[in-house]
C-alpha cells in the first residue's frame, strides 16, 4: 500500500510539473502584457515599458524559454513572480485560496453527502415518489445555470429576511461584515450567516449530480447476489443495504468526489462573483483580462496541485473503502 501511494505521488509530481509548465507557456504565449501600456496617456516611452516588463519577467522580447526558466526557478523557491501591477503574486494567491477553500469545503461536503444519501434512497425505492421527485429536482437544478440559481437564492434569502424572519439571517454579500465587533462567537455566527446561501448554491448542483450518479451505482449493486446472500444470512434489509450494497456502491463515487473538489477550487467562479467572495475563480478571470501572465500561471499551478492532491485523496479513500486495494 505504501509503495503504491509513493508511486502515485511520484506520478502526481511529474504531472504537476508538466501541467504547470504547459499552463505557463500557454499563458505567456497568448497573453500580451505590453498592450496594457498602449492605452496609457501619456504613453510611456518604449524603453521604460521594456524595462518595466523585463523587471516583471513579462517582456515578450526575451525568448519564451528564458522567461520560462526564470519563472520555473522562482516557482521552485516558492516565488510565483509579480503581477502586472508589481505586487507579489504569492501573497494575493494565498489569501484568495483561503477564501475559496472556506467557501467550497462546506458546500462540497454537504452537497456530496446529501447527494449520496438522496441517490441511495432513490435507488432503494426505485420508481417510488422519492425517486421521481429527486430525479425531477435534479434535472431542474442541472438545467438552471448557476447564475440564475444563485440570484434566485439571493432574492429568496432577502425576501425571507424581510417577510419571514424579520431580521437579517441570510447575508448575501462578502465573506464577513466589515468592522463587526461582537467577539469570537459573534464573528463566527456572522461568517456562518454569510456562508449559508453560497453553500446552498454550491451544494444544490452537487446534490443533483451526486444523487444521479449514486443512484445508478446503487441500482447496479441492489440486485447483486451478495446483497441477497447477506439477507439470507439473517441481516435485516437495512443492515444488508448499508453494509453490503451502499459500501460497495460508494467506491466509484469516492473518486468522483475527490475530483469535484479539485475542480471546484477554480470552478466556483460564478458563486464567488455573485456572492461577493473574492476567491480564486474571480482572480483567474480578472488576471486574464489584465494580461497577468504570472497570476494566470500561478492559479493554474494551484489548480493542478489541487486536482492531483484530490486524486491522491481519492486513492486513499478508495483504499479505505475497498480493502482489496490495500491487500493487493
Amino acid at each position: 500500500m505504501a509503495g503504491f501511494l509513493a508511486r502515485r505521488l511520484l506520478n502526481s509530481l511529474v504531472l504537476v510539473a508538466v501541467a504547470a509548465s504547459l499552463a505557463y507557456l500557454l499563458a505567456a504565449a497568448a497573453l500580451d502584457p505590453r498592450s496594457n501600456y498602449a492605452d496609457r496617456t501619456p504613453r510611456p516611452p518604449a524603453a521604460v515599458v521594456d524595462a518595466q516588463l523585463t523587471a516583471l519577467n513579462l517582456n515578450d522580447r526575451t525568448p519564451l524559454i528564458q522567461r520560462y526558466a526564470t519563472w520555473a526557478a522562482g516557482v521552485l523557491h516558492g516565488d510565483f513572480g509579480r503581477s502586472v501591477t508589481g505586487s507579489p503574486v504569492g501573497d494575493d494567491l494565498r489569501r484568495r485560496a483561503g477564501v475559496t477553500f472556506r467557501l467550497v469545503l462546506l458546500g462540497l461536503v454537504f452537497g456530496s453527502l446529501a447527494g449520496v444519501a438522496a441517490g441511495a434512497l432513490a435507488a432503494i425505492g426505485q420508481y417510488g415518489w422519492f425517486d421521481r421527485l429527486s430525479a425531477g429536482l435534479s434535472f431542474v437544478v442541472l438545467a438552471v445555470p448557476v447564475v440564475v440559481l444563485a440570484n434566485m437564492l439571493i432574492l429568496a434569502g432577502t425576501w425571507a429576511n424581510e417577510r419571514l424572519l424579520g431580521h437579517q439571517v441570510f447575508l448575501v454579500s462578502g465573506e464577513y461584515s466589515d468592522g463587526l465587533d461582537a467577539g469570537f462567537w459573534g464573528r463566527a455566527v456572522d461568517r456562518l450567516q454569510h456562508l449559508l446561501l453560497p453553500t446552498v448554491s454550491l451544494s444544490l448542483g452537487l446534490v443533483a449530480v451526486f444523487s444521479r450518479y449514486q443512484r445508478n451505482m446503487m441500482l447496479d449493486v441492489l440486485g447483486a447476489d451478495y446483497v441477497r446472500t447477506a439477507r439470507a444470512k439473517g441481516l435485516s434489509r437495512r443492515a444488508a443495504l448499508v453494509r453490503h450494497a451502499l459500501r460497495t456502491a460508494l467506491i466509484p463515487v469516492v473518486t468522483y468526489f475527490a475530483f469535484t473538489f479539485g475542480v471546484l477550487l477554480t470552478g466556483a467562479t460564478f458563486t464567488e462573483k455573485i456572492f461577493g467572495w473574492h476567491g480564486l475563480g474571480e482572480q483567474l478571470i480578472d488576471s486574464i483580462f489584465t494580461n497577468d501572465v504570472n497570476t494566470v500561471a500561478a492559479v493554474s499551478v494551484l489548480a493542478a496541485v489541487a486536482v492531483l492532491c484530490a486524486s491522491l485523496a481519492a486513492d486513499l479513500l478508495h483504499a479505505a473503502l475497498d480493502p482489496r486495494v490495500r491487500a493487493g
Binding site: 506520478n11 447483486a224 447476489d225 451478495y226 441477497r228 446472500t229 447477506a230 439477507r231 439470507a232 444470512k233 439473517g234 441481516l235 435485516s236 434489509r237 453490503h244 459500501r247 460497495t248 467506491i251 473503502l321 475497498d322 480493502p323 482489496r324 491487500a327
Partner: protein
C-alpha cells in the same frame, strides 16, 4: 457411499411444510399451488426447466422475493407460519433455522469483505459471541467445507477464490448456525463437473453435520438422482409429479417427466439412437393454456386435457402425478433404432477438412497502467494437435479454462497461429490473404453458444439468414432463406419476425440456418446447446445430427457437457490446461478411458439413474485447475492426478514430474496397457488418433491404462 433405501421411513414431523404456495408478479402467475414438506435429514429434489417457478418458490419460502411479488398460501417452519410474518421474525429465522445456497458463487459474496469476516458475520447476526469467537468459528467452518489452510484463507477476499471454493464458502455460511433446513438453488449449475462432484460431497458433509433437511433445486435430473430421497417435478409454476426418487425415475406417470427423462443425452449410452425431444417449448407464465399446461406439447393429449388443469392424482404410495391419463403413461421406451444407423466401429474417412498441428496460443500477462510490463505468460493453448475428416464430428471437451474456446477462436481467426499450423479445407491459414480468408469462411461457418446474444436484435430473421448470402454475392436470397428455415424446422412465415420473438431453441435454429446459408463443409459449434433447456436441447441435438447426415457436414463441436458430446460426436478430444489429454473414437474413450483425468471427468457426471448413482464410486479430484500462467512441470495433470497421488511408485512419479507426456496411440484391446514411452524421449506431438493398428484412441499419459468407469 453405501446403497441406502430410496425412501427411508420418516416418522418425525416435517421441518418445513409448504402448502398452496402462490406467487404473482403483477399479472404473471409464476408459482401456482406448490406444496411439499421435508423432514429432518431428508433431501427433496425440485426439478424443473427455466421458468418453471422452482427458484421463485424457494425465494418465496425464504421471504426473499422483491417487494412487487404477492405471495399467498402457507409456509410453516416447525409449525410456525412464515407467510405474512413480520420482517423482524423472518430476519431471526433466516440464516439460523433455514438458510440458502445460491446458484452463482462468483457473485454471491460481497467483494470488499474478507471471506472469514463474511462467515463470521453470519455467526454474529444470530449468536452472541465476540468477534474473535466468530472468526474462530468461521475458520472451523472453512475447514469443514474442505478449504485447505483455512486460517490463512479466511483472510482472503472472494476474488482470490475459484468458483468452487466460493461455493464452499457460501455453504459454510449456510451451515454456520446449524440450520434445520438448507435450500440449495442450483448450487452446482455454474460449476464444472469435477467441481460439482466436490460440492455435492460438501453438501453431504454439511447435511451430516447439521442433520438438516435439504431442498435441492436443479434442472439437472442427474444431480438429484443420487442425492435426493424424494423428487418434485415442476412445470409452468406447478408441481406435476411428486414421489420417491425411484418411483419418479423408473415409474414416471406424468408425460412431462417421461419426456424429460427421454430427452437427456446419457453418458452411459452410445448415441446411435436419437433422443426423444418434447415438441414445442414451455409456455410463457403470462399466457398459460386453459387446461393442463403441458397439454400443447403432450403426445397423450386428449380433449379432456384442455378443459381443466388436472389435480395431483395418487398414483402409488407416496407418488402423485398431475395427469388425467397417468395410467397409460410409463417410462420412456427404449428408443427406436437410430436414423443414422452407423456401426459403432468404422473406418475413418480419408479426406481431412481441418488439421491442427502443435497449436500454441499464449497471452501476455501485463501489469501497470502508465508503463505496462510483461510479468508472465498465460499458456491458454500449449501444443494441441488433431484432425477432423469429412463427415466426422469431433467433440472438443474440457472444463472451463482448458483452452477449448481459445483453440476454436484460433481456428476461426484464419490467421497464422503463434506456433504450429492450422490447415482448413486444405489451405494453410498462415498463407491466406484477405480474399483467401473470405473464400475459406464460405466453407467454414460457426454457431455460437448464446443464441440471443449472437443474433442482431434489430434485424429480421430473413435479414439475419440472408446476410451471409449477400456478403458472398449470392443472387436471390429469398428462396434460399425459405429453404433454410424449412431445413431447420421453422416456418417460412417466421422470416419476418425478430429474434426476440422466438424461444431459445428456435433462436438456435436460426443461428444454425444462418451458418448453413452458404452450404459450408465445416461447421464449428461453440457450446451450441448449453444455453438451452433440457426439453428443447434434445430437438436441437437431433437437428444437428440429421443435418450432418443429410448435408455431409463435418462438425467441430466444442462443449463442456460430455453426455451431449457422446451423443453427437464420432471422435472426442479431452482437453486439460491447454493440452489434449485423450483423443479417440467416442466409444473407445467413453467405454475405456485411459487418462486419469478423463476417468475422473466421466465419473463426476451424475446419471439420471438413482440406483446406479447410489452405488457408483466417484473419483474425486482434489483442488482446482492450476493457473495456466504457471502450469505444473511435466504432466500438467499430475497435481490433481489420483493415480499420481496414490498408485505410482517414486520412479514413476519422477517421470510425470520431469517429462511432459505427448498423445500416443494406445495399442491393443481395452484393458491392455497403454503404449509406453519406449525409446524416443523427444517424439514430436503426434496428431492424436492416428490409425495405428486401426484403433482410434490416443492418450497423453505415461501410465495410461484403460478402465471402465461407467
Amino acid at each position: 457411499m453405501t446403497p441406502e433405501p430410496a425412501t427411508p421411513p420418516l416418522p418425525t414431523a416435517p421441518v418445513l411444510q409448504v402448502r398452496d404456495l402462490d406467487v404473482r408478479f403483477g399479472d404473471v402467475h409464476a408459482v401456482r399451488g406448490v406444496g411439499y414438506e421435508v423432514r429432518r435429514g431428508e433431501v427433496l429434489g425440485i426439478v424443473g426447466e427455466s421458468g418453471s417457478g422452482k427458484s421463485v418458490s424457494s425465494a418465496a419460502v425464504m421471504g426473499l422475493l422483491p417487494r412487487g411479488a404477492r405471495v399467498t398460501g402457507s409456509v410453516r417452519l416447525h409449525g410456525r407460519e412464515l407467510i405474512g410474518a413480520r420482517d423482524r421474525e423472518l430476519d431471526a429465522l433466516r440464516g439460523r433455522t433455514m438458510s440458502m445456497v445460491f446458484q452463482d458463487p462468483m457473485s454471491a459474496l460481497t467483494p470488499v469483505y474478507r471471506v472469514g469476516d463474511q462467515i463470521a458475520e453470519a455467526v454474529r447476526v444470530h449468536q452472541r459471541v465476540t468477534k474473535e469467537q466468530a472468526l474462530v468459528r468461521a475458520v472451523a467452518l472453512l475447514d469443514l467445507v474442505g478449504i485447505p489452510h483455512p486460517a490463512q484463507r479466511a483472510l482472503a477476499f472472494p476474488h482470490e477464490f475459484s468458483g468452487g471454493m466460493r461455493q464452499r464458502v457460501v455453504i459454510a455460511m449456510a451451515i454456520a448456525n446449524d440450520p434445520d433446513v438448507i435450500i440449495c438453488d442450483e448450487p452446482t449449475t455454474a460449476l464444472d463437473v469435477t467441481v460439482q462432484a466436490q460440492i455435492l460431497e460438501v453438501l453431504k458433509t454439511a447435511q451430516r453435520e447439521t442433520g438438516a433437511a435439504i431442498v435441492m433445486i436443479t434442472h439437472d435430473l442427474g444431480v438429484v438422482a443420487g442425492f435426493a430421497d424424494r423428487v418434485m417435478v415442476m412445470y409452468a409454476g406447478r408441481p406435476v409429479e411428486v414421489g420417491g426418487v425411484d418411483d419418479v425415475y423408473y415409474r414416471p406417470r406424468m408425460p412431462y417427466t417421461v419426456g424429460l427423462l427421454g430427452a437427456v443425452p446419457r453418458i452411459d449410452r452410445d448415441g446411435r439412437r436419437p433422443l426423444t425431444p418434447i415438441e414445442g417449448s414451455p409456455p410463457a407464465p403470462a399466457a398459460l393454456p386453459p387446461g393442463c399446461s403441458f397439454a400443447p406439447r403432450c403426445a397423450l393429449r386428449a380433449p379432456a386435457c384442455d378443459e381443466a388443469e388436472p389435480p395431483l392424482f395418487d398414483v402409488g404410495p407416496g407418488h402423485r402425478a398431475a395427469c388425467l391419463r397417468w395410467e397409460e403413461t410409463g417410462p420412456p421406451s427404449a428408443a427406436a433404432p437410430g436414423v443414422a444407423g452407423v456401426p459403432a466401429t468404422r473406418v475413418r474417412p480419408e479426406e481431412p477438412v481441418l488439421r491442427v498441428e502443435g497449436l500454441v496460443k499464449h497471452y501476455p500477462l501485463l501489469k501497470g497502467t502508465l508503463f505496462r510490463r510483461r510479468i508472465g505468460t498465460v499458456q491458454a493453448v500449449a501444443g494441441v494437435s488433431f484432425d477432423l475428416r469429412r463427415g466426422e464430428t469431433l467433440g472438443l471437451v474440457g472444463e472451463s479454462g482448458c483452452g477449448k474456446t481459445t483453440t476454436l477462436m484460433e481456428i476461426l481467426e484464419l490467421a497464422a497461429p503463434q506456433q504450429g499450423r492450422i490447415v482448413v479445407l486444405g489451405r494453410d491459414t498462415a498463407g491466406l490473404g484477405a480474399a483467401g480468408r473470405k473464400a475459406v469462411r464460405r466453407d467454414m461457418q460457426v454457431v455460437f453458444q448464446d443464441p440471443l446474444a449472437s443474433l442482431d436484435p434489430r434485424m429480421t430473421v430473413h435479414d439475419i439468414i440472408a446476410e451471409p448470402l449477400r456478403t458472398h454475392g449470392a443472387g436471390h436470397p429469398a428462396r434460399r432463406v425459405r429453404e433454410l428455415l424449412d431445413l431447420v424446422g421453422l416456418a417460412p412465415a417466421h422470416a419476418e419476425r425478430h429474434p426476440q420473438d422466438f424461444s431459445g431453441g428456435q433462436r438456435q435454429r436460426i443461428g444454425i440456418a444462418r451458418a448453413l446459408a452458404l452450404e459450408p463443409r465445416l461447421l464449428v459449434l461453440d457450446e451450441p446447446v448449453s444455453a438451452l433447456d433440457v426439453s428443447v436441447r434434445a430437438g436441437v441435438i437431433n437437428l444437428l445430427a440429421e443435418l450432418k447426415s443429410r448435408l455431409g457436414l463435418s462438425y467441430l463441436f466444442v462443449a463442456h457437457d460430455l453426455a451431449v458430446v457422446r451423443h453427437i460426436a464420432d471422435r472426442v478430444a479431452v482437453m486439460y490446461l491447454g493440452r489434449i489429454a485423450e483423443i479417440g473414437a467416442v466409444d473407445a474413450v467413453y467405454d475405456a478411458p485411459a487418462h486419469p483425468y478423463t476417468r475422473a471427468l466421466l465419473s463426476a457426471i451424475p446419471l439420471p439413474d438413482p440406483a446406479r448413482e447410489r452405488t457408483r464410486a466417484r473419483i474425486l479430484l482434489e483442488g482446482d485447475l492450476p493457473s495456466p500462467a504457471h502450469p505444473p512441470s511435466g504432466c500438467r495433470f499430475r497435481t490433481r492426478c489420483p493415480k499420481f497421488r496414490s498408485e505410482l511408485t517414486d520412479d514413476e512419479r519422477a517421470r510425470c514430474v520431469g517429462d511432459e507426456p505427448v498423445v500416443r496411440p494406445l495399442a491393443g484391446p481395452a484393458g491392455g496397457r497403454g503404449a509406453n514411452h519406449g525409446g524416443d524421449d523427444h517424439g514430436g506431438d503426434d496428431h492424436g488418433g492416428d490409425d495405428h493398428g486401426g484403433h482410434d484412441h490416443g492418450v497423453a499419459c505415461h501410465h495410461a491404462r484403460r478402465l471402465d468407469v461407467l
